[in-house]
Symmetry: C2
Subunit: 339 residues, 2 copies
Amino acid sequence: MAHITIKDIARLAGVSYTTVSRALNNTSEINSETRARILEICRQEGYRTNLLARSLSSHRTNLIGLIIPDIASPFFSELYLNIETYALDLGYQVMLCNGQPGDGKIEELFEFLIGHRADGIILVSSINNAHDLFYKYSQTVPTVLLGDCVSLESNPVNIVSVDNALGGRMAAEYLYHLGHRKVLYMGRRPGSIIHERRYGGFVDAARELGLRVRVIDNPGSASTIESGYQLAKQVFLEGFEETAAFAAADAIAMGIMQSADEFGVSIPDQFSLLGFDNISYSALPNIRLTTLDQQKNRQAKATMDLLLDLIRHPDRGEYTRRLICPVLLERSSCRKVSP
Amino acid sequence: MAHITIKDIARLAGVSYTTVSRALNNTSEINSETRARILEICRQEGYRTNLLARSLSSHRTNLIGLIIPDIASPFFSELYLNIETYALDLGYQVMLCNGQPGDGKIEELFEFLIGHRADGIILVSSINNAHDLFYKYSQTVPTVLLGDCVSLESNPVNIVSVDNALGGRMAAEYLYHLGHRKVLYMGRRPGSIIHERRYGGFVDAARELGLRVRVIDNPGSASTIESGYQLAKQVFLEGFEETAAFAAADAIAMGIMQSADEFGVSIPDQFSLLGFDNISYSALPNIRLTTLDQQKNRQAKATMDLLLDLIRHPDRGEYTRRLICPVLLERSSCRKVSP
DNA sequence: CTGTTAGCGCCTTCAA
DNA sequence: TTGAAGGCGCTAACAG
């Protein structure tokens, strides 16, 4: 079980262990024959570089820490997959950590990742007060916030997010142009800056257009199918005069669909439903939710690119905010009506 | 950005850095006042232990590697969460790696985790040939297979799995006792040992009871809603005389439900549906799938306990197989019929 | 092209 | 109860 080291290989090959190191890293000039011979011995002996030792002396780990609120939620797991793919392309491993603000979990994770000397950290969060924490740690390690924050002016952080305000606006405009005049905004989560922005864009556009909107807040701490179901149930039970709903997240929309099914409300015939996120389930043959795609791959790329820049230029002396535009994806859950 | 080290603290405290190390680890005897003073300085200075250095010299990382086939699938992400919770209780961090057999991904992940000197590794897999790989690496690092394997006799590996044969048997018996005499077995995945065992138990019981079963194989490499939908669509299109179906996985059952809905087949009135896994979606108000619960928490606990034992006794000279019994969870997707 | 010499930051004997 | 010395496995100058 004891691991074989570079020294063992050196002895076997009859060279100094520096030479072995060079062969392994293919760095600087080295006789290609000795190199081949050394690598062959490594293979035979089952040598594996001790990454801890390498990182300790090289001051690089090639590790990116990723803190995600809830990996069991489709949106986040898909986001993770996008980030990982792109990180691997760039030669980085990602260390996934599952955690939400509250009870000091985020701090623990930051401490853990910094302890492991992650080259950079990505924090995925939509919590309003996350950036205090964030700011604190970004002094120690290159960090990108993937989510949203109150404002760049008051928060010197590097951030990537979908343009939530624009998304909200697009949603309102789309429903309006379909002919809807009274709509529901379902699943706004008051504690979340993302939701606030999304809602802000929506009502601004609604006001301009003359669209009546009623808001149903989600008191929970996450947008889940279950909560969407409960919210919709309440609406369907009480009765409603709206002809369409914008769900603040696809998961909410799924819940609404379930409830509608139960109440015999046909989508889109009697009721149009527009989502936000484009999680993979939304494409399912029997769902076919029209939604605003978050462009997870572009978010992933933008985040990694920004992080890499931070890693390479720790003192770049500027803060960057990159906004990704959502894209409307028309499927079958919305229909035209005559106003 | 440069990290403060144990030596810096030592200088500030006016002690040797050995003493600082002791204060930090709270190991051996140390004056409680100096200890308090040192810790206070550490806090003030924002000292963070370099975990790489610690692990390098202590030969322990307190890291468990977890290789999971598809973190975006609910079953696996829920399994991961269970394992992580339990690992944290035991003082271990888990390093999650997403990867399936094929194109050498698993090897890469093992190499990566071993390179990081993970104290132990959990491989979640249902692929028939995974244990060759598995066996190879288990010589180097304590490893537990969470899944299933051909037989313990021919494969000296440590393994935890749900009792798939029993689960299959329970499924057949349950449907039989409800009065069903002709049933579908949907979503068997030929390449997967898990599925073969599950199916084996099912048909054995069916034969004994006089239950007619027709199998619909899933040619894909994973049990997804989409594949369940396609499988069911094919069945509903061709016509069927069965009164119930056992879905080899809950995700398959979800797809069947969608398709049934589309074809106007009412569940459970016209058609009973039994799942396997108990993913969280199965409990949703409009799903309420009757299913066999995999006891993920017990699997997680058994796996971690076994792994810990391996870590502590590397030469324990035995291989263990722990089988967890599934539990029938009756909800609303199956009903009694008169045979 | 190759070897020598220092560390990286920490833990762990062994003395004091 | 504390300190000094050595080493974990590797990389990184600097010579040769």
